[in-house]
């Protein structure tokens, strides 16, 4: 059955690929060099990681060079793309045939279209800035070369993820990103918390990977292929049940990578890594992979309304959860992490709205990439000056000591809470509009989220840069070196103009992405001016409440008891407890016999496991008695079975 299907699929594929409706051309000229995008950082990683100590001196320069070279290549491709007609901007270039086994073929080929180039520019652009910033931030770390190697590896894997033209190749990039992020989170492995966090990110991401594997297996089963063109072209012919299942599996994968409910818990712990890493992982790239996956799979979600509803629900829950967690955290990086969760929730929600929301999801993703990277790097700059202090209750009044950091951070702040004309206003407002156009509940969720965002971000600003000084150190905190502030300026600039530029420059991002994502417009249930006014009023209310609580009164240095909600939020809304009950506990049962190193008794742990496989395993294991004669009995029994099996087949 599968072979007929795949033959059909191949026939469809040769007719001309589908990238959400536009024809995909064979890459020629400069587009044939798309692979260079990945090759630069990959080469950089290889040199840095395999080169050993010889490259210690110039390691950071090689790392930055590789990333910037990739960015330049991205800009060149983007410029070349602008020269093509708007419906002819998708190009594939086949690198080599990866597997050709029976009816299943996987090509390593790259798909460059409007969607992937947007990601390429974000990844390499913001990535390069983070590289530059890291030169200063990691200056005193003796393993800086290795750090840059991992960063390059991360960029390469992420680029492979967004440029792949086949789910399997995408998955390879997906895993590569996971590996690099694991290495980066655990980079300071002498800190026990870092090692634990890395472990958690590893485990939770494996749950997400299961979703990816299931999705790909289903695709092979139903479509006989995992190539984008074949899958999207034949999705219409498949039953709704299968398409919905694939959509849900992909959503599970996206949840793991993008820290969406219920797989969100690793993100907050992942803040243990060196700060630029947090910025890179959160803002620019890794967590947006899930949103990319959903938008890229638009052709599947368009056919599966139920899966889309699930995406919206996940997005809404995460956006509120992240915002509430962000309100209660005193650790500046964790507060930002909660905010990231919440913003990704916005994107996921928008992506779940279908063609009406895909473009806005990507739009918000890009602007968020600017202002969140800006704020993470700003937080890193604050920590740099404060001797790695992360508790905001020990900050206060830093705007005078660190003026550049303050100004740039403020740009990011205004952008994230959505004050016009900063970047976040345009993108978030579009999502709120689309959400209200879809239905009231999602609309209210996004509106509430906007209010809470304003609250916790104002709280963060006030506690860090305003109010009384609560730091103990004798000399005042110093401003960071210019190699660190330059990227801050760049990102702050983007936070200011990014939204406006993306929305109105040329035809704007919505039209730019339309050939890939499709376009759809719903009627708002109320006039647009009214919605904008309500949104802004909510934001102002959030700011005002925060000012009343943290601006007028002095911030206490000890942690107040707080309401039950605050306590819950401090505990990540019991996300860990949830994960423990749902994933860890059954997993532990399964592993108790297996991962016995966590147990005291080594061999004793093997006995008495409750799980099916563990129990079955130890039971089967007892057959291995060590006695030759019992082995001979087993064999002779086997002989009987084999000969009988041969004879029985012949019975009429």
């Amino acid at each position: 059955m599968t072979s007929t299907l795949s033959a059909l699929a191949t026939a469809v594929a040769t007719e001309g690929g589908h990238g959400g409706g536009q024809a995909v051309a064979e890459a020629t000229g400069v587009f044939d060099l798309t692979w260079l995008l990945i090759a630069f950082p990959l080469l950089g990683a290889a040199i840095l990681l395999l080169g050993g100590r010889r490259t210690d001196k110039v390691g950071h320069l090689i790392g930055c060079g590789a990333s910037i070279a990739s960015f330049v290549m991205g800009v060149v491709l983007f410029a070349a793309m602008l020269g093509e007609p708007s419906d002819g901007r998708a190009f594939t270039s086949q690198l080599w045939e990866y597997v050709n086994a029976g009816g299943y073929t996987v090509d390593v080929s790259l798909l460059l279209d409007q969607l992937s180039i947007s990601f390429v520019l974000l990844i390499t652009g913001v990535g390069s800035l983070i590289h530059v910033y890291s030169i200063g931030y990691m200056e005193h770390d003796e393993r800086r070369r290795r750090f840059f190697g991992y960063l390059n590896l991360f960029v390469a894997a992420m680029l492979l993820l967004v440029l792949a033209a086949d789910y399997l190749v995408l998955f390879i990039g997906w895993e590569g990103v996971g590996l690099a992020s694991y290495l980066l989170i655990g980079f300071w492995q002498h800190k026990n918390s870092a090692a634990v966090a890395a472990k958690k990110a590893f485990v939770v991401n494996r749950v997400g990977d299961m979703g990816m594997v299931l999705a790909m297996s289903s695709m092979v089963l139903v479509f006989g292929s995992t190539a984008f063109d074949v899958v999207f072209a034949s999705a219409e012919g498949a039953s709704t049940g299968w398409v919905t299942a694939i959509g849900l599996f992909l959503l599970l994968g996206a949840c793991g990578k993008s820290a969406q409910f219920p797989l969100q818990s690793w993100l907050l712990d992942a803040m243990e890594g060196p700060t630029p890493v947090s910025a890179l992982i959160h803002a620019a790239t890794m967590v947006t992979a899930g949103v990319y996956l959903i938008v890229r799979s638009a052709a599947i979600y368009d056919l599966a309304p139920d899966a889309r509803t699930a995406v919206v629900i996940v997005g809404a829950i995460t956006l509120l959860m992240g915002a509430i967690i962000g309100c209660a955290k005193d650790d500046i990086k964790k507060a930002l992490a909660g905010s990231t969760m919440s913003q990704i929730g916005y994107m996921t929600l928008a992506a779940g709205l279908g063609p009406a929301g895909y473009a806005f999801a990507i739009f918000h993703l890009l602007t968020h990439g600017f202002f969140k990277a800006n704020m993470f790097l700003g937080a890193g700059s604050v920590m740099h000056g404060m001797h790695d202090e992360v508790n905001m209750r020990r900050y206060g009044g830093l705007r005078i000591a660190m003026p550049v950091t303050f100004i740039t951070f403020a740009m990011g702040y205004l952008a994230i809470i959505g004050i016009p004309p900063f970047a976040g206003y345009f993108s978030k407002d579009k999502i709120i509009e689309a959400a209200f156009a879809d239905n009231w509940i999602t609309g209210l969720a996004t509106l509430l989220g906007a209010g809470i965002t304003a609250f916790y971000m104002t709280r963060l600003m006030l506690m860090t840069f305003f109010g009384n000084r609560r730091w103990k150190q004798s000399e005042p905190p110093h401003e960071s070196p210019s190699v660190m502030t330059a990227p801050l300026w760049a990102l702050a600039f983007l936070s200011v103009v990014g939204g406006f530029a993306l929305l109105y420059f040329g035809a704007g991002i919505v039209d730019w992405l339309a050939p890939v994502t499709g376009e759809e417009h719903h009627e708002l249930p109320m006039p647009l001016w009214l919605l904008i006014t309500i949104t802004l009023a909510t934001v102002v209310a959030g700011v005002a409440v925060a000012w009343l609580m943290y601006g007028r009164r002095a911030v206490r240095e000890d942690v107040p008891a707080g309401s039950p909600l605050t306590v819950a939020a401090r505990n990540d809304l019991y996300g860990d407890a949830f994960n423990e009950a749902v994933f860890m506990r059954p997993g532990q049962y399964l592993t108790r016999s297996l991962v016995y190193f966590e147990n005291r008794g080594v061999d004793g742990a093997v006995v008495g496991t409750a799980t099916a496989f563990g129990g079955l395993s130890s039971r089967l294991r007892r057959l291995q008695t060590g006695f030759v004669r019992s082995y001979a009995v087993t064999m002779l029994g086997g002989v009987g079975v084999v000969v009988l099996a041969m004879l029985v087949v012949r019975l009429p």
Binding site: T2, S3, W96, E97, Y98, V99, N100, A101, G102, G103, Y104, L168, F171, I172, E175, Q189, A195, A198, K199, F202, R206, S217, L590, T591, S593, L594, V595, Y596, F597, E598, V602, D603, V606, F613, G614, L616, S617, S618, L620, R621, L623, Q624, G626, V628, S630, Y631, A632, T634, M635, G637, G638, V639, V641, V642, V643, A645, M646, L647, V649, R650
Partner: protein, 508 residues
Amino acid sequence: MNAPTIEYAELAPLITIFGAAVIGVLIEAFVPRKVRHPVQVAVALLALVAALVQVILLAGTGMVAAVGAVAVDGPALFLQGTILVLAIISVAFFAERRLEAGGDAFAPAASTLPGSEEERILVRERMLQTEVYPLALFAVGGMLLFPAANDLLMLFIALEVMSLPLYLLCGMARRRRLLSQEAALKYFLLGAFSSAIFLFGMAFVYGYAGTLRFGEISEALTANIGQDGILLAGVGLMAVGLLFKVGAVPFHSWTPDVYQGAPTPVTGFMAACTKLAAFGAMVRLFYVAFGGMRTDWQPMLWAVAIATMLVGAVVALTQTDIKRMLAYSSIAHAGFVLTAMVAADQTATAAILFYLATYGIATLGAFAVVTLVRDSGGEATHLAKWAGLGRRSPVLAATFALFLLAFAGIPLTSGFVGKLSVFTAAIDGGAAPLVVVGVIASAIAAFFYVRVIVLMFFSDPAPEGPTVAVPSLWTAVGITLGAAATLLLGIVPGPLLDLAQQASLFVR
């Protein structure tokens, strides 16, 4: 009467290896003890490399040599080439002398009593066992012949020539000699038992067909002369003999014990090369000779494949010794290969060839890594001792992790492509349910591979943990080659897949 002609050129690889093995025996007798070790290693390596070159030169041949007894065709040459490559690396591991102070992995004299004064003197004088090299060469000769054997008698002889030296090699460990001797005894008794069963089955097949040649047996099947009971029993018994060698359930019981007890370089050699040779022989026998009655043996292989995959994967879950765990993993892998065998067509042959090559490389590398992790008692094979190895020796742990990922079939490793090809071959051959079981077994198996990775990288090092010995250049190069091949075949498998595809046609 005409004397039969022998195609010496086509049989050159076999002649080279057997000749070198005989020379090795003569060296034992005539070369002074002091220089024996380097001479033996040199002879063995030279012979293996020469044979490899001859195999490569023969590529593309498709004929039956030695009056129909030996096939020189794609599958045979592909497997012979792979076995020779693996054997070269194995000999390099055999010759490793930096891990034990001045010794290698073998007892200075297998005949001395463990713990006796005699043994101590030999150890102190740094005496080296050199018989292992001619023994290994004989075994390699048998392995080369096994997948090329084109009649029943040659098949049996090859089986024995391959097995007998292996029985001895298993009993020669320098450390833990009691376990090693026990492994040899178990392997020998069960091996001889299975050989006898195999031979009895052979007698029945001969009785049915009246000939020993594979081609003529195939013709006899088409002629359908009745008395099928004898044939079916014969095929079943022969299958048992071969399934024993590949370690399929329920004929697998020797595998964990022998893998654990044997000296680790021998375990690696055995795990990689024996399985290749035995599967090669099995595929040829069942496709060429018994291809006409595939509907009779397919259900039997279905059952065996399912049992093998599940038992291998499930029992490996609770293993605490790394060598035993790898043994069960090798059982599960035998099951994966059997899924493709059930399909019984040319695609399946190609998939099996590719799978065996990648599996052999990764296995050899993994066992070589095991030899490097040591404590005062020799190799530290208990899993608990591997905890935190990633912090102590990240490169070694990462290499081992790579091999484990290949076993688990994770993308970007050779194991993934291998698994994909056998499973697609099985689906195309109409064995989709087997593939479902295969995927489940893979998932279970992935669990215990990942568990070792987690153990190495995420848990705290044991307080009196093992040290990682610095190997000689030979071993280092061997492991590096294995890791590089595993990664490379995972990223660009095309050339080897094509080669396997071209080599997948049997001469009849």
